[in-house]
């Protein structure tokens, strides 16, 4: 099985199996996964040395439910 990690700006974004990212050995994959599973609450990013750094909220605010008018607008041209 192939293991990989994806790193952006010095932070580990994701790890996975399959194609993609930078190939790593299973031991590193397990180490990163273990760090992820011990992620502190809040907005933290995982550095390559497997320590966590507090960051600002990257997801942005939740969006509001769409109104019926907005749904109709989104569907315009589809219906």
């Amino acid at each position: 099985m192939r293991y990989y990690k994806v790193v952006s700006d010095g932070y580990i974004v994701t790890v996975g199996t399959g194609n993609g990212g930078t190939e790593i050995i299973e031991e590193e994959y397990e180490s990163i996964l273990s760090a992820i599973h011990n992620r502190p609450d809040g907005d933290y990013a995982l550095k390559e040395d497997l320590t966590w750094e507090e960051v600002s909220d990257v997801t942005g605010p939740d969006e509001e439910e769409l109104s019926p008018e907005e749904i109709a607008e989104a569907l315009e041209g589809i219906l």
């Binding site: 996975g16 194609n19 992820i36 933290y44 995982l46 997801t59 439910e65 019926p68 569907l75």
Partner: protein, 290 residues
């Protein structure tokens, strides 16, 4: 909804632990992929299993409805429910194809219309379409605009059966922006759709309350007009419930979809709010592309 586990080809496929509503189900292998037409005229979901005789069967359920009525909590029976049990597969060396239509008696005229729409899609993209891989055409059929979830789901079945589907899994270390581009290294030059599920899914989910557990199918918007991510929130409809608001997930649509050197780039809105399909750090997601 069911966990994805690796089959003998190493591909993640849905498996089930409990599905009592499948007729004559024996030796169920994998099933339960859901979808509905973005136009809102019909939604359907398909199940795949091996029946007691050893045939591969695909059950396609359909409900004629529309979002505006549904959103107000209308009675699903008014919209004409119908189910089509499609059988296809090889048994003792012979290909068997057949279907049986079941119509809800509450509103037979609407149920008949629903069944006709399902069958029109099936006849256009049915076993021949699956076997020769031409089901991603783009010809309009009554059931939808452009390709519909039904043939695409059948195509997924075909890809799973033939080991041509590609698979992988990933775990996010951190949250991602609401609008993000996900990259799936499928190795495929053309990707018709991708099916993503939280690996923690282990039991059949019947609640219509939107939650945060991902279970989504995203179709290639190029060959599927009005592509969207089907989410847990659509699942409520699959069970014929009428909870207001369960159909919001379809608006979680894909804004771009491209393949470069075997990598699929899908840009869409992934987090939004709890009625959509958030990805969470620390959760492992498995995907199947076809």
């Amino acid at each position: 909804m069911f966990p994805l586990v690796q089959n003998n080809d190493g591909i993640y496929v849905p498996t089930i632990t409990n599905f009592t509503e499948v007729k004559n189900a024996q030796n169920v292998q994998y099933l339960a992929l859901y979808g509905y037409n973005v136009a809102g005229a019909v939604f359907a979901y398909a199940s795949y299993y091996e029946n007691y005789e050893g045939y591969s069967e695909c059950v396609v359920y359909g409900y004629a409805t529309n979002f505006s009525d549904y959103d107000t909590g209308g009675d699903m029976r008014n919209y004409g429910m119908a189910s089509v049990y499609v059988t296809y597969g090889y048994y003792n060396g012979a290909l068997k194809t057949d279907y049986t239509v079941y119509k809800d008696a509450y509103n037979t005229s609407e149920a008949t219309a629903t069944a006709d729409k399902i069958l029109s899609g099936y006849s256009a993209y049915g076993p021949n379409g699956i076997i020769d891989g031409t089901a991603s055409g783009g010809t309009n059929v009554e059931i939808g605009i452009g390709d519909t979830p039904i043939p695409n789901i059948l195509n997924l079945f075909y890809a799973l059966e033939n080991g041509t589907a590609k698979t992988g899994e990933f775990t996010l270390a951190q949250s991602i922006p609401n609008s993000s581009t996900l990259i799936f290294s499928t190795g495929l030059s053309t990707v018709h759709g991708i099916f993503i599920a939280d690996e923690s899914m282990s039991t059949l989910q019947t609640s219509t309350t939107p939650d945060n557990t991902l279970w989504a199918i995203v179709f290639n918007p190029t060959s599927n007009t009005g592509s969207y991510a089907m989410t847990r929130t659509t699942l409520g409809m699959a069970y014929g419930t009428n909870q207001t608001g369960v159909n919001r997930g379809f608006l979680n649509r894909v804004s771009s979809w491209s393949v470069t050197n075997g990598d699929l780039y899908v840009t869409g809105t992934y987090n939004r709010n709890n009625n959509y399909t958030p990805f969470y750090p620390g959760r492992t997601y498995r995907w199947v592309a076809w």
